[in-house]
C-alpha cells in the first residue's frame, strides 16, 4: 500500500500496524511520537492501530535546537538535523 510518511510518498507492505511500520522501518519506537492523519497515536495503541492505504503519518523525535531554527516544519525534517 501507499502512505505518506513524514511528507513523502512511500510504498510499504499491506496490513501494517503502527508498531509494524516502525519495526519495518527499523525505528526505535521508544523515542518517537507518531501522528496518524493528524491525530496522535498513543504508545499503547501502536499494536492495535492499523494503517490503511493513503494514510498520512508523521514520526518525530527530539533533535538539536534552541530557540527557533529558522526552518518551518514543512521544510525542516532531515535538513534540520544537519544544522
Amino acid at each position: 500500500m501507499n502512505i505518506t510518511l513524514n511528507g513523502e510518498k512511500r510504498e510499504v507492505p499491506d496490513s501494517l500496524t503502527v508498531i509494524g511500520l516502525l519495526l519495518h522501518l527499523n525505528i526505535q519506537h521508544q523515542r518517537v511520537a507518531v501522528e496518524l492523519n493528524e491525530s496522535i497515536v498513543k504508545k499503547d495503541s501502536y499494536a492495535s492501530t492499523a494503517i490503511k492505504d493513503g494514510d498520512a503519518l508523521e514520526v518525530v523525535s527530539f533533535m538539536g535546537g534552541g530557540s527557533d531554527c529558522g526552518f518551518r516544519i514543512a521544510e525542516c525534517g532531515i535538513k534540520h538535523a544537519a544544522v
Binding site: L25, V32, E35, S61, G65, G66, S67, D68, G70, G77
Partner: protein, 259 residues
C-alpha cells in the same frame, strides 16, 4: 547558593542557566558544552525522524534524559495549530510534560506571535502540559499567559540569535512586578555579562543557545555563562548599592597626614 533552587510547577531546577542544543559542530561538542555549562535543563526541538538514514546518531544518545531535564520546544512553528501538534507529539514521546511554547510571528525577526501563543497555551494547559511560553517583553501578555495557567514566562531579551543582550531591562522589571511566577529570559543574549545582568535584575533563569554554540570557543563560553549566571544571581541576592551621581570615599578621613 544552597537552597536557592528554582521551582516551576513542582519541578526543582538546580541550574538557572538553561541551554539549547542547536547549531553545534556535532553532538560531541553539544555534550561537552552542556556539561561545562553546569546546566540541568536542555531544550530540544521536535523534528521528523530521518527515515532514510536510520542509523544517524540520536541527540538523546549524548544527552541523558536521566541526568538532564529535557525541555522540548515548538521552534519553527508559525501557527497555533502547528505549535499545539508539535507540543502534543513532544509530550507523547514520553519523557516530559514540559514544553517551551514558541509560535513565531515573523521570519526576519523571529518575534513571537503573542496572540497565537496565548491561543496555543490555553489548549496545551488544558491538555495537562507544563507550558513555558516564549513571549515578547510585554507585561500584559505575560499576565494573560499566567492567568490561563502558565507556571513561568520566557520573555525575550532581544531577537533570537541576535546577541544584542538585554534591550529593555525596564520591561523585564515591570514583568517581574506584574506576575508572581518565575521569569526566564529567553533569546538574544550575547555574552556572560548579558546573562549576569539579567540575573542581577532579578530574573529567575536565562535560556540561551547561539551565544554558546556560535562563540569562537563554545566550550569556554559555556563555562563563562555558568559563572555569569552564578555571579549575577549572587549579586542580586546580595543587594547592590544604590547608584549615586557623586563620589563617596571608602577610606576614613581621620588620620590623614598633614591634617
Amino acid at each position: 547558593m544552597i537552597d536557592d533552587k528554582l521551582v516551576i510547577a513542582g519541578i526543582e531546577f538546580n541550574s538557572r542557566l538553561w541551554v539549547g542544543t542547536g547549531k553545534y559542530k556535532d553532538f560531541a561538542e553539544t555534550k561537552k558544552a552542556i556539561e561545562v555549562s553546569g546546566t540541568d535543563v536542555v531544550t530540544v526541538s521536535v523534528r521528523r525522524v530521518n527515515i532514510i538514514d536510520k542509523n544517524k546518531e540520536n541527540l538523546l544518545d549524548y544527552i541523558d534524559p536521566k541526568k538532564y531535564k529535557i525541555l522540548p520546544n515548538t521552534a519553527g512553528c508559525y501557527t497555533a495549530k502547528d505549535a499545539i501538534r508539535t507540543a502534543m507529539l513532544a509530550a507523547e514521546a514520553g519523557i516530559t510534560k514540559l514544553v517551551k511554547l514558541e509560535v513565531i510571528g515573523d521570519e526576519k525577526t523571529l518575534f513571537p506571535d503573542n496572540e497565537a501563543t496565548l491561543e496555543a497555551a490555553k489548549v496545551l494547559v488544558k491538555e495537562g502540559l507544563i507550558v513555558l511560553p516564549y513571549v515578547s517583553d510585554d507585561p500584559i501578555m505575560a499576565r494573560k499567559l499566567v492567568d490561563i495557567g502558565c507556571p513561568a514566562v520566557m520573555p525575550l531579551a532581544a531577537p533570537i540569535g541576535s546577541g544584542l543582550g538585554i534591550r529593555n531591562p525596564y520591561n523585564l522589571r515591570i514583568i517581574m512586578e506584574t506576575v508572581k511566577v518565575p521569569i526566564i529570559v529567553d533569546a538574544g543574549v550575547g555574552t556572560a555579562s548579558d546573562v549576569a545582568f539579567a540575573m542581577e535584575l532579578g530574573c529567575d533563569a536565562v535560556l540561551l543557545n547561539t551565544a554558546i554554540a556560535g562563540a569562537k570557543d563554545p566550550i569556554a563560553m559555556a563555562e563563562a555563562m555558568k559563572y555569569g549566571v552564578l555571579g549575577g544571581r549572587l549579586a542580586f541576592k546580595a543587594g547592590r548599592i544604590p547608584r549615586k551621581l557623586y563620589a563617596t570615599a571608602s577610606s576614613p578621613i581621620e588620620g590623614l597626614i598633614g591634617s
